[in-house]
C-alpha cells in the first residue's frame, strides 16, 4: 500500500504525459493510445528486470537518457529562438517527422518508456521472483492501458482552444519527466547540475582571472575579494543551476512571444486589420500556456530536488582518543558493529585540532576509513542513503562501491590497518590529512550536521 502511495505522483505524471501527447498529436490519437500503453508497460517491466540482474544498474542509463532529454530541450529552445530571430529559418524535417504517424508512435513510445522506467526506480530493493515479476507485468500492463484510455477520455473533453504546439509538447513532456525523476535521488538532475555549475564557475572564474592577469588576493581590497569569493560558493551553483534549468523553457516562452505578427498592411479596413491581429495575439497567448505550465513543473522539480523527502543515516560522531603510540583503535564488533554496512562517524581531538571521520563496510565487504569531508567542498559531511552516501554541501551522490577511492567529491580516504578484531588509524596522519585537504576548503568552522 505504501508503495502505491509513493507511486501516485508518477502515475499522475504518466497521465499528464499521455494527455499532452494526445493533444499534441491530435490527428494520431489511436497511435498514441497504443504506443503509450506499450511504452509504459515495456519501460516498467524492462527496468524492473534490469534492476534484478546482478551488476546492472538502470539508474545510470535512465539518468543519462534524462540528461540527453534536457540537452535536447536546450537544442530545441535555441533553435526556436534562432527561428524567431531569423524568420527565414525553418526546420521542415523536424516538422514532417512530428506530423507523421511513425513520428507520433516513436515519440510516444520513447517518452512513456522513460516515464515507466522512472516510476519503477521508486521501488527499493531488487529482489525478484517469477511471481512478483509476473504480477508486476500484469498490473503494469493493466495500469498502462487504463491510463492511456482514461487520458484519451479526458483529452476528448478538453476545450478545442487548448492546443498543444510541437514546442509546447516537447517542453511540457520533458518537464514532467524531470519532475518525476527529481523525487528519486539517484535520478535527480537538478542537484548534480547545481554542483557541476558550482565547480564550473569556480574553474571559469579562476581561469578568467589568470587569463586577464588579475592580481592575487593580497593586493585586492577585502570587500572586493569577498565578492569574488562569493562566486566560489554553493549559492552560485544553486542560482546558476536554476538559470540553466529554466533557461530553455524561458527561451521558448520568449521565442513564442517574439514571433512577428502577420502582416496586415495589405488590408485597408482598420477593423479587419485589428481583428486579424487580435486573433494572432490570442493564438500566441494560447501557445504560451504549455510553456508556462512547464515553468511551474520545472520549479516543482527544482524544489523537490533541493528539499528531498529522504531520510539519511547520519549518526552523531563518537569521540575517540589515541593511545600513547599515537594510534586510534576502534573494535570491529562491540557496541557498534563496523561490518553492518552502515556509516559510523567518529571525532578525534588533539589540542585545538580536530578531525571527523567515518568507518564503513562497502558492498564488496571491504572496510574503508575516510574523512567526513571531501577535498572540494566545505566539510559539511556525509549522510548515507540507499546504495550511496551523499555530500551534504553539494548534494552529490557517491555510490557505496566507490567510497574509499580518492577524487572528486568522494570522501578523502585515510590509511588504516586491521589488527586482530580492531581497526587501527594513525592519529597524526588523520589530523594532518584533515588539516591539509579539508581546512583549505572550509570557509566557516566545520561542524557537520
Amino acid at each position: 500500500m505504501a508503495i502505491f502511495f509513493k507511486l501516485i505522483p508518477h502515475i499522475i505524471v504518466w497521465f499528464g504525459v499521455v494527455v499532452i501527447l494526445l493533444r499534441g498529436f491530435s490527428g494520431r490519437r489511436s497511435v498514441v493510445v497504443v504506443a503509450s500503453g506499450l511504452g509504459l508497460l515495456v519501460g516498467t517491466v524492462g527496468v524492473f528486470a534490469l534492476r534484478s540482474l546482478p551488476g546492472l544498474s538502470p539508474f545510470i542509463a535512465i539518468k543519462s537518457v534524462l540528461g540527453v532529454c534536457f540537452l535536447l530541450l536546450w537544442a530545441v529552445s535555441v533553435a526556436a529562438s534562432y527561428r524567431t530571430a531569423d524568420s527565414g529559418a525553418a526546420f521542415p524535417w523536424g516538422e514532417r517527422f512530428f506530423s507523421s504517424s511513425s513520428g507520433a508512435g516513436v515519440v510516444t513510445v520513447i517518452v512513456t518508456l522513460i516515464a515507466g522506467g522512472i516510476a519503477v526506480c521508486k521501488f527499493s530493493g531488487a529482489e525478484t521472483s517469477a511471481l512478483s515479476f509476473s504480477l508486476l507485468a500484469l498490473s503494469a500492463g493493466s495500469l498502462a492501458y487504463f491510463i492511456a484510455y482514461a487520458a484519451r477520455f479526458i483529452e476528448k473533453r478538453l476545450p478545442e482552444s487548448f492546443r498543444v504546439s510541437q514546442l509546447g509538447m516537447v517542453v511540457s513532456v520533458i518537464a514532467l519527466l524531470l519532475f518525476s525523476s527529481s523525487s528519486i535521488l539517484r535520478l535527480d538532475l537538478f542537484s548534480p547540475l547545481s554542483m557541476k555549475v558550482m565547480k564550473g564557475v569556480h574553474d571559469f572564474v579562476h581561469q578568467f582571472m589568470e587569463s586577464i592577469l588579475i592580481p592575487d588576493h593580497l593586493f585586492i581590497r577585502p570587500p572586493i575579494w569577498k565578492s569574488i569569493g562569493f562566486l566560489f560558493g554553493k549559492e552560485v551553483g544553486f542560482w546558476g543551476g536554476l538559470v540553466i534549468w529554466f533557461a530553455p523553457v524561458l527561451l521558448i516562452v520568449l521565442a513564442i512571444n517574439s514571433v512577428r505578427l502577420p502582416s496586415v498592411a495589405h488590408i485597408r479596413q482598420g477593423a479587419q486589420r485589428r481583428k486579424l491581429l487580435a486573433g494572432a495575439i490570442r493564438e500566441q497567448r494560447l501557445q504560451l500556456v504549455m510553456p508556462l505550465f512547464s515553468v511551474v513543473i520545472f520549479a516543482a522539480a527544482a524544489y523537490q530536488s533541493s528539499f528531498p523527502s529522504v531520510e539519511y543515516w547520519d549518526p552523531k560522531p563518537l569521540p575517540v582518543t589515541a593511545n600513547p603510540a599515537g594510534e586510534i583503535v576502534i573494535p570491529k564488533k562491540g557496541d557498534i558493529n563496523l561490518e553492518d554496512g552502515k556509516l559510523h562517524k567518529y571525532l578525534f581531538k588533539q589540542g585545538e585540532r580536530e578531525a571527523r571521520f567515518f568507518v564503513l563496510q562497502t558492498p564488496d565487504g571491504k572496510l574503508t576509513v575516510d574523512l567526513d569531508a571531501c577535498a572540494i567542498c566545505k566539510p559539511d559531511g556525509y549522510g548515507q542513503t540507499e546504495g550511496s552516501v551523499i555530500c551534504y554541501y553539494c548534494k552529490t551522490l557517491i555510490p557505496l562501491e566507490t567510497v574509499g577511492k580518492p577524487g572528486g567529491c568522494n570522501p578523502v580516504p585515510i590509511g588504516f590497518s586491521v589488527k586482530g578484531e580492531s581497526v587501527v588509524i594513525d592519529a597524526m596522519t588523520l589530523i594532518n590529512s584533515w588539516g591539509a585537504t579539508v581546512q583549505a576548503t572550509a570557509r566557516v568552522k566545520e561542524g557537520g550536521k
Binding site: 537544442a75 534562432y82 530571430a85 574553474d203 592580481p215 593580497l218 572586493i224 498592411a265 495589405h266 485597408r268
Partner: protein, 418 residues
Amino acid sequence: MKRLFRALIAAGSSRAVPPIVIGLFFLFYIGVAFFTDETLITLMAFTRRSFFLAALLALIPLNCALRIVRQTTLYLNVRRALHGKPVNSQSELFDEAVELPASTYDLPELEGRLAAVGYKTGRSGTALGAWRGISVFPARLLFLIGFFCLFTGILITTTTRTANRRMVIEGEPMPMPDGTGGTVERITLANASGLILARTLAIEVASSNSGYGKRTFGLYPPTLYMGSFVYPRYLGIALYFRFSAPDMPAGYETHCSLNCYPPGKEDNVAIPGSPYRIVFSTPVPEPGTERYRSYMTGDITLQFKVLKGKDVLFTGSAPAGGEFVRDGYRLALPDIRRLVITDFIGDYGVLFIWSAGLIFVAAGGIWLPIRAFFPRREMLLRFEADLITAYSRAEGRSRKHAGVFHEVLDLVDAKRDE
C-alpha cells in the same frame, strides 16, 4: 565556384555559428567532466593540442568578421534605399513589404502626415523615405567587434600562451624567459587608497644591456617587457644563510627563496646530505597592525625552527645580519632581500580580451538608451506607374510604427478611391 563561395560565405556569416560552436564545446565539456574534475583545464589543454578544436573555435571570430561586413552592407543598403537609390533585394532589407495599386498620390500630404507623427522624410524621384529615431547599428557593430576581439583573444590565449614563473629579487637582474633584463633596483609595497587595490607594488628595474630603458612594473594592468607581461603573484624573501652543527663543523651556506608571506606561512630548506631541515616563517604581527609591514619597510626578522629528522632541536628568530648560536649549532642570516614571485606571461590574446571588455561597455552604453528611448523606425514608399510598393521596418515600438505605416497606406488608398 562562385556559387560555392557564396554558399560558404552565407554559412560562415550565419547567426547560428556561435551557438553551434559554443554548444559543441559545451558537449565536449560535459564529456570531459565524466573523466576528470579538472574539466576546464583539460578542455583548454585539448584545444591547445588539437588543430580541429582550435579551428572550430576560430569559426567564431571568423563568423564575427563576416557578420560585421554583412551588417555594414545591410545598413548602407537601407540608407541608400531610404534615400531613393536603387538597391538589390530591397524587400530583404525590411520587415514588411506590401504592394498597392494606385495611380495618384499626394506626396506633400503624406510628408505632412508623417512629420506630424514625428517622422523625418526624404523624397527622391519616385520614392519617399521616412524615418524616426536612431539606428542601433553602431552598438551592433561595436558588439560584433567586441565579440570578435573576445574570441580572438580566447583563441590566442588558449593556443599560444606561455607562462614562466621566476623569482624577481632586489639587486638581481630581471630573470626574463628570453635573456635577462635590467637589474631590479627596488621593490616597493605600499598601502593604496583605490577602490579595488588595497596595496600597490612597484618593481623598479634599471636600463638593460639589450636596449630597454629604466622601467617600473606595477600591478594592473601588467606591463609588457621583452615580449612578456610581468604578472606579480606572491611575495617572498630571498635569503642567504650559513648553518653549522656539531656533526657538521664545515657548515653549509646557500642562497634560497622562501615563499613565506602572508606572515605565519612556513617554508623550509633541507640541508643536503644531512638530517637537518630548517623551517622559516615571518612573525605574525600584533592584531590591528599592518600585516605586511616587514615587507614594506624591508626590516625583516625571520623565525626559524631547526629540525633533525622529526625532532625539533631549537627555535628562534633573527633579523637580517643576525646570528643564532646554541649547543654547538650556529645559524647566521647575513642577507635577507625582498622578492616577488612573478609569472612572465607570453600572451597577446590578453590585449584582445581587455579591448573586448571596453568595447562591450561602450556597446551597452550606446544600445540601452537608443533601444529604450529612440528606437529606429523606417518606411519607404516607391511609386511606379500604377503601383505603390511600401516597405517598413522597426527596431523597437513596432506596434506603434505599424499603426503609422497602415495609416499612411490608408491615406494612399483613399486617394485612389477619390
